[in-house]
């Protein structure tokens, strides 16, 4: 049987076209132009004249060409096959210096992924972000040069001296044969190619993420990761009275980050791929009968990230810096957890490798740590 799809790719309803404004689409339908191919220059001009649009000729032409372009897309033919996608993921991925976390996250550390990290205050979210940036910038393979990364800081928790410390330790581990002057030069190159954006409010955060595409395209070297630390802070007190707008802005941020990941996949050849990453706060929800801990920003946001990682500090006073990471949402893996230790070098292994969570499989729903 011929794999030809019904002409649906062509016969798009005018109301769903991005290039036709809704009032114009309604007027076109009342004139009998129901689908994209029906739209004629005459009908469009007539409708625009009816709406008193300035610069009629020019506007009608640009709208018509945009509409034609949109209708000419063939969604079925241009789609990727699963095989080609599988081959794509055979590229090198980001390797953290902590094997437990590497196993836990697996393919979530590859290009185009959106990874969310959440946890209680002081559980190591910022340290995880710094470690991830360092791991992206300094690839394991010594033949690959330093990769660029973008760090969007909304909390003011980026301390350059700390990042220097983390990178120095990782360089010493991954490039042990460098002599001191060469290592210093490499360290400077790493620090120079991390771009930090300090966003003070939700408007700046949103605008910065929206303009990131242009910035990344303008870089000569590939950008390996975009880190947002944290997404929750500004939204804790802004756009509070307009929940619908807040949900839309958050969805738009997630969509833009995913888009950046996917676009970059096409550009990068055999290099580290893009991984968007955000951190989230953990908050206490007040229910009717009990209170529980949950990631901030609610259910709408929880859908956005394809991988969710929970960090928690272990209540162990003899061993400060010890924590546990739990995978709470993943496309590929069952829920499991591993221990990590935050040292002056960054995030490192501690204890046995990934093991199943107590109580077995918890399904797809994120684990809510219940307070007794």
């Amino acid at each position: 049987m011929d794999a030809k799809l019904p002409a649906s790719a062509q016969a798009l309803d005018v109301r769903i076209l991005h290039s036709i404004p809704t009032p114009v689409a309604d007027a076109l339908i009342s004139r009998g132009c129901r689908q994209a191919p029906d739209v004629t220059p005459e009908a469009l001009k007539e409708v625009l004249a009816q709406h008193h649009v300035a610069g009629l000729e020019q506007r009608a032409n640009s709208m018509l060409s945009a509409c034609r372009q949109e209708a000419a897309k063939d969604a079925w033919r241009s789609a990727d096959s699963a095989l080609s996608l599988l081959r794509k993921t055979a590229r090198p991925k980001v390797t953290l210096p902590c094997t437990g976390l590497n196993q836990l996250l697996g393919n979530a550390l590859r290009g185009g992924a959106l990874l969310e990290v959440f946890g209680l205050p002081g559980s190591g979210k910022t340290q995880f972000c710094l470690q991830l940036c360092a791991a992206v910038q300094i690839p394991c393979d010594p033949n690959i040069s330093i990769v660029e990364a973008v760090f969007i800081d909304t909390e003011g928790s980026f301390v350059p001296q700390r990042y220097l410390q983390v990178c120095e330790a990782l360089l010493a581990e991954r490039r042990p044969h460098l002599d001191p002057p060469a290592a210093a030069a490499q360290l400077e190159a790493v620090m120079r190619s991390l771009h930090v954006c300090r966003a003070y409010d939700a408007t700046e955060l949103y605008s910065t993420i929206k303009q990131l595409g242009a910035f990344i395209k303008g870089r000569r070297r590939p950008v390996g990761a975009v880190v947002v630390d944290s997404i929750a802070f500004s939204f804790r007190h802004e756009l509070m009275d307009n929940t619908a707008q807040r949900a839309r802005v958050l969805a738009e941020i997630a969509g833009t980050l995913r888009q950046l990941g996917a676009d970059h996949d096409l550009l990068a050849v055999g290099r580290e791929d893009m991984g968007g990453e955000v951190t989230n706060h953990m908050t206490t929800r007040f229910g009717r009968e009990d209170t529980w801990l949950a990631p901030a920003l609610g259910e709408t946001w929880a859908h956005q990230a394809s991988t969710q990682l929970r960090l928690e500090k272990m209540a162990c006073w003899q061993q400060p810096g010890l924590g546990r990471a739990t995978l709470t949402k993943s496309v590929e893996k069952a829920a499991c957890s591993c221990a990590y230790r935050i040292s002056h070098k960054g995030l490192r292994d501690d204890g046995p490798e990934a093991m199943p969570v107590d109580g077995g499989c918890t399904g797809l729903a994120p684990l809510w740590g219940r307070i007794a």
């Binding site: 640009s62 300090r198 003070y200 929750a232 007794a372």
Partner: protein
């Protein structure tokens, strides 16, 4: 007065988003998309858009339907607003060299803490049980700052400020007339409500954004204590509102401590010390267990949390006065920090202020 979430209260401090819309098109007198800039502005104003911020958050399809343009053209128009508000990326290298150039401020009373802080301006929270030395910590920090020539702004919510005690500490640092001059540099203001605190801090952070050449800001801002005002507030307003107000306050304080972009204003960055209280923790198990008040939203918002306690750090939290060491030995725990590991410093309080013990 009930706390309301109006636009005035949650005004951002940096300001690009709050500029009126016509600033966006002032540089482009030529028509945009066949429409003159003036009529475009009128159209947007008719839809109740008045600031750049309103345009930034507008969905492209909505703008498309209003202006009868294609979505691509709408995105081009929105990009103008986005690029105005977007943050210019700065490389980590530049940040590191910049913070080296800032003169080291010496405000932490304990040498080990000073080493951990590294001398860069920061937002510090000091929490602890009553009588453990939170106000003493702040007084000592104020004395150190004033003695080194900096100005101090003390926002007092508990009426616990003592000029007498400050003078005693200052005289140990610099005896005689110099101490009196240093005392002149410490300004004290009583602050009754969260709303009032918010507007004072907002004023400070706006003067930071505006002033470029003259050092209009103090070198240290002390808020003693944020819990006192926030707890008074909670009787009148709901908890989510209070959380939002605290988060907003933290956001303004962070604008204050953020390093300046321009080199001339680099020395004009204050440090902020905020004190917080502790409360009984029913989930802690033992009857004596306590935890720091104001909840997790506030805990997320502060970058540094120092917990002062009478007992060595343990599973029961900061502990209370009844468990205190008879020799006045206390402990400072760096509980949350963006750059240093968990650290415990034993200290006691003498007439000079806080003194580190080995």
């Amino acid at each position: 007065m009930a706390y309301t979430a109006n636009a005035m209260v949650y005004k951002s401090a940096q300001g690009f988003g709050d500029l009126p819309l016509d600033r966006l098109f002032s540089d482009a007198p030529e028509p945009v998309l066949g429409v003159g800039a003036v009529s475009l502005l009128e159209l947007l104003r008719a839809k109740r858009l008045s600031t750049i911020k309103d345009l930034v958050h507008l969905p492209p399809w909505e703008l498309r339907d209003w202006l009868l343009i294609t979505e691509e053209e709408a995105i081009l128009l929105l990009r103008k607003a986005w690029s105005t508000c977007a943050v210019k990326p700065v490389s980590a290298w530049e940040l590191a060299t910049q913070s080296h150039a800032i003169p080291r401020s010496r405000l932490a009373p304990l040498p080990s803490l000073q080493a951990a802080l590294g001398g860069t301006p920061a937002l510090l929270e000091v929490a602890g049980a009553p009588g453990v030395g939170k106000t003493q910590f702040c007084l000592h920090a104020a004395a150190l700052t004033a003695a080194s020539g900096g100005e101090v702004f003390w926002l007092d919510a508990e009426r616990s400020f003592s000029a007498q005690r400050l003078l005693e500490m200052l005289e140990h640092l610099q005896p005689g007339e110099v101490a009196m001059q240093a005392l002149q540099r410490v300004r004290h203001k009583v602050c009754g409500s969260l709303q009032e605190l918010h507007s004072i801090v907002s004023e400070l952070s706006q003067s930071k954004a505006a002033a470029v050449e003259q050092p209009a800001l103090p070198a240290l801002v002390v808020i003693d204590s944020v819990a006192a005002v926030a707890r008074r507030e909670s009787e009148q307003s709901s908890i989510p509102r209070r959380q939002a107000a605290l988060s907003s306050l933290a956001s303004l304080l962070k604008v204050l401590v953020a390093p300046s972009i321009s080199a001339e204003a680099a020395s004009n960055v204050p440090s902020v010390v905020v004190t917080n209280q502790v409360m009984g923790d029913p989930s802690g198990g033992s009857a004596a267990s306590t935890r720091v008040s104001l909840g997790q939203v506030w805990h997320h918002a502060v970058n540094w949390r120092l917990v002062l306690s009478h007992v060595p750090p343990g599973p029961t939290g900061p502990g209370s006065k009844e468990q205190a060491d008879p020799f006045g030995r206390r402990y400072l725990l760096v509980e949350k920090s963006p750059c240093c590991a968990t650290l415990t410093i034993p200290f006691n309080i003498c007439e000079r202020g806080l003194k580190e013990l080995s």
